[in-house]
Symmetry: D2
Subunit: 404 residues, 4 copies
């Protein structure tokens, strides 16, 4: 079935409808032989990747590869996002935005190893993921071609299904699946269907990783996260690899209904969309990390970092992972994280991941300065001069301009 | 008891221990006759302000005034903070920071009306409130003297009680009250005592305006907030003055346990402190407002506004309410709020004020662009060119520098 | 020659090669009748606009209009840029970026008045001006079509000349003109030719509005600019309309060689280009305005404004003149300019526009605070407390973390 | 004359009036024996430090030390400021602000080596230098006492002279020196006297390091600076240590009248002051560095860096050199400088240090993308889609809100 003279493309294969039909479309319209590449970044149930791998072959791929990238994803992509408290628009933990660069990295690697002529993704032309795939490719392999069959084809979902049936392509979907889902270790996203009405409350069926509040335990559960260099390293005293720690926190927090996010989001391509996210682990870990930073970071530094965090989330959201600006902010952030070490108590209860205590040997909270009891060592006599000079520009302004 | 030749001071009087003893101290140490001024910004139970007024006289004030400033506080101080989504360190709704400028405004007004020689506050030298009082005074009356008897005196709590007892001053406190509390329409703050240990979970007794999660209703409650020009104007279809609306949302959200905040905070005077806030109304209204902005604000504008919001919260926290920078940011924000109009559905349940729907006639969500169904009018063919040029700086960088 | 059923397009006509051939191309390839519209924003010598108007007709336009927009350009476009000290990348006074919105405004107005079906510009696909034309059109007439014949055609300069000669189009260029020039009241731009080598010093022939240093007067010349509300209103004591003032300052400063800018610039479309600007008036006025702000703006405000200025220049450069973010920053800036009033002495000499003195009745420089002589009223005793608390976060950091 | 039981203080000794009388004052009022420490950061003519060393002994110091810190100053303090293009308020190259941390570092080192009890500086209470000395001390030796005799004493200049004469202290000043001067390798500052009138043009006598324009050569001089890792490493092809390079550029640029700065400045202590700086070398090197960055930095990175540069200059100006925020920005900047390598042609002429050419093997200027001639490889067909999506948020805004 392979044609040694045909060009080859490495396709980011998810096992879903779009990438399944893309294999045939790339052959018919572009003459490509497709190497399917499925990357496990934590989205798959046990055994599922094997089925995905087989499905690609059934759909016509000349080769089908699966890579377990879960640890790499946690260590190289989620970790810097934790350090940067990355939340796009202050809300979205960048679930898909973090996985596209790692997937593209592997696409490029496989393309280079197999001497392929191009890589391909299954994104449409109106989302962010096309940008993330292609700009990552420009950054790590600027001269490699990128195919975007779904965007180029422009077929509707129903059209794609009909096209596939005509050709006996064993497509994986039933017509009834109402949402478009993406998932990995750091969270789960849902869009389409009823969710496109931003006034409508999302139906419970949208959610999978977090319990409905009415079904969460009636007793709170506390967990203690230990951090070193800004990263969580132990859960309730047990050292865990980051991937394991995230998965375990996600499971426990999800059981308490933590991590649902419902937002109207600004896409890079210029439109607003309504998105539903479930990120029990991400929400819990970021809350703990931010709280520990409030204890450990000097205030001017903390303020500047918060400004950069917002920019960081934006550039990662916009596909600019492998860029010099991302590197430079990472360098800033890494310098700040050296002292973010300590423990955070988080109470999971009824959808909350509430920090109820934090401590650190290197924390900048100084009881002898903060206390109002007899141990107070703060020299209050310094305050008068401070206030007078702090207010001096305002005073001069008031005398000269303020009444106007 | 009044001495027509004695200098007069207008004291911000709360009815608590510190300002009660300050009246006598100002007389003994500075020769002042004190006009006590109590401002109701929403902290008082019915009838309480009368008792406060009498207490000042009992403690030696030559005059005792009470001002109901609740509507003024809502309209002139809380409203701009809502428009600016003002949260210091992303967390604290500036409860006390908002009330100090209005109190100082009234102190100055009364001082001018009564020909007083100074105003006075009861703050210590290690908090933010001294700054807020004094810098506000520098701004609105740059040549008026400000007395800070508690800071100057430097007496401990126990010392003050003993001093008052020696003089038969009818001080209002029992020794058992463990926390230092400040409260107004926009929320309630607590510090001191066990709270000074940031590792210790706050005891339930700290809270007053929000129910414990275990005691909240087992059914969710939904409320609908209507906004015009960025401000909430109606609750469940009923038009309300801002003060009434805040109070009612606060009551309903508090019943569901919404609005508890536990944080380590950076004070302007250079120390970290552990603070507990309860702001059911503020947290609910700000969540709704931010969500509606995500629908109504153009994305570049929204991003810039988020940056300014953080700065705005900081300057208000730092006492710079009456400053030209505050005015300029207000002008920016006011321009943005012209289109923040619509309705937001908020579900109150188990401590959450979760936005579950939002709509606006002027919203920028465009279903015909966002949808993935047949109504799609987004021209996907534009995307390829967009992505190519968006990624071009990265591509050139990758070719010249990226591999190094 | 007009065909009442043919669609009509209003073309931004400069009189140059590209827009001259575009008239015929729009007819041949798109079936358009062209209404040529030339806008005078200060680029034209006396009488030149008449010749431009005739040339459009000679080239086949069905109608040819000329608008004198010099005062409108000064008052509505340059004035806010002065208030915002708008310098892209800290260097470029946005000469062309300011004129594109006004030109597009008039294109849309004429299209609406004449019932035209589209507007058109003569920009290529690799510059910024296409973005400025088209995004402005999206903002002021979102449903009006925009044609870009030069971009769509993709013809080289030589090709366009040959194409025009075949058709006897009376094109205006000799093959020898080496640079691509754009010009208006606020400055003059040059690119192409030898300038594309960023290592090569620009030849003197590139410049037209500023004298070579070797040929400037050997005596300095001083001018005094008076400002009100942040805008220059008088020159050496004589009140002038903004347009006149700019033109006169430009002439005088140009004689002294002021205003040459040589830079490598980041274009929105993702490439770097080498640009030469001549802006004697802009450089002089901006220097005076910034200096007066240093005297009149409170320091926290000034600092925040500087950050917004950079963003403002960027959005204007990127074509976002008619956007809500632009409006919001204008509101911020307008609030700051209320107190920017006074006089600035500028010495023009050997390419410098050096501020040598500034004064303002509302200035915040207070000699009694600043002086080191006997009139000093600054209370130095306040400084110790100020420094102690200002440094306190650093001190605590040093004790806990600084040694690591 | 030394008293083994007396406490010892290490005084930053300049050889000027204030620190000369401070030695005796510290003895009389505080009982200190003074170790004078003079640091040469480039301010001294050959042999001058020897005279300074002797003068301290003549004034009563028990020990007098001189340290040549010129190379350390260049490498550890000026170099990061170059990388960060540090200009306070966009104008002032931080001359004194850079030297205070290094001086304080040495004060602390000597205090520790000699077992001294305190360090001391000769600053008044209304300038920035007191903050820089003391906050640096808090950072590097948080428990060491700092004395500020001049601030504490509060004596006027004339009073100090009289006081010294009564005691036969061999003070170094004639009454005629009109300005307060500070100087080092990176520039020279002047204030006081006639300069305190911001409307008055500074008299020529203020300047020392830069020629008056009327006396500069009538022929331009070109120099070529080579950069590696963001720092100048060679001048006209000759490798030089940074200190030597700065000194030589300063000399040559000064001869052409480069580097005079006249500004109204915002001091941390809340006042505006009028300052005159002369920085021929700094102005030249910074212009070259910024220009090379325009060639070598990716545009999003460059934009973010410019924002941080302003913050960086502010924190250094405000005495926060040894702080975690400074470190974090340094980390950001260092990451950006890896690719800032190449050559810059600077023409010195009549007060200008004008960049007339720049080149870099790693530059991001790509002639094949930028050119308008036949070699053009920019695919203009991508532009239409780019512009359409770039403008889409504006278009939707215009349709929904723009007309209001």
């Amino acid at each position: 079935m392979t044609d040694s003279s045909a060009p080859r493309v490495v396709l980011a294969y998810s096992g879903g409808l779009d990438t399944s039909v893309a294999i045939r479309w790339l052959a018919e319209h572009k003459g490509y032989e497709t190497i399917a590449l499925a990357i496990d970044v934590g989205q798959a149930a046990p055994g599922e990747m094997d089925r995905v791998q087989q499905r690609a072959l059934d759909c016509g791929a000349v080769e089908s590869l699966v890579v377990d990238a879960k640890d790499e994803f946690a260590d190289d992509f989620v970790a810097p996002a934790v350090a940067a408290n990355a939340l796009y628009m202050g809300k979205y933990p960048l679930v898909s935005a973090l996985s596209r660069p790692i997937i593209t990295r592997h696409l490029v690697r496989v393309a280079q190893e197999h001497g392929a002529d191009a890589i391909a993704h299954g994104c449409t032309g109106k989302g962010n993921d096309q940008v993330r795939f292609e700009v990552t490719a420009m950054a790590v392999a600027p001269d490699l071609a990128v195919e975007a069959p779904i965007r180029e084809w422009g077929l509707s979902r129903d059209g794609a299904i009909a096209w596939a049936r005509e050709r006996d392509i064993p497509i994986p979907v039933s017509k009834g699946s109402a949402y478009s889902i993406d998932e990995n270790l750091w969270g789960r996203t849902a869009e389409c269907g009823i969710l496109e009405d931003p006034w409508a409350q999302p139906p419970e069926e949208v959610y999978e990783r977090s319990a409905a509040l009415a079904e969460t335990p009636d007793e709170p559960e506390e967990l203690t996260l230990a951090f070193e260099d800004g990263l969580p390293v132990a859960l309730d005293g047990e050292k865990l690899a980051l991937r394991e720690l995230i998965a375990e926190v996600d499971r426990r927090a999800g059981r308490h209904g933590v991590g649902r996010i419902d937002m109207v989001e600004d896409r890079l391509v210029g439109i607003k969309s309504r998105e539903i996210y479930e990120c029990p682990g991400a929400v819990t870990i970021l809350a703990a990390h931010r709280d520990l930073e409030d204890l450990c970071l000097e205030q001017e530094l903390a303020q500047e970092k918060r400004g950069l965090e917002s920019r960081y989330a934006q550039i990662v959201y916009n596909g600019l992972w492998y860029t010099p600006l991302k590197r430079a902010i990472d360098a800033f952030v890494a310098e700040t994280q050296r002292f973010v070490a300590g423990e955070v108590r988080v109470q999971l209860f009824k959808g909350h991941a509430a920090v109820v205590g934090r401590r650190s040997e290197r924390g900048l909270y100084d009881l002898s300065l903060a206390t109002y009891d007899e141990a107070d060592q703060f020299d209050q006599s310094q305050a008068e001069g401070f206030v007078k000079l702090w207010g001096l520009p305002t005073k001069v302004w008031a005398q000269r301009q303020g009444h106007l």
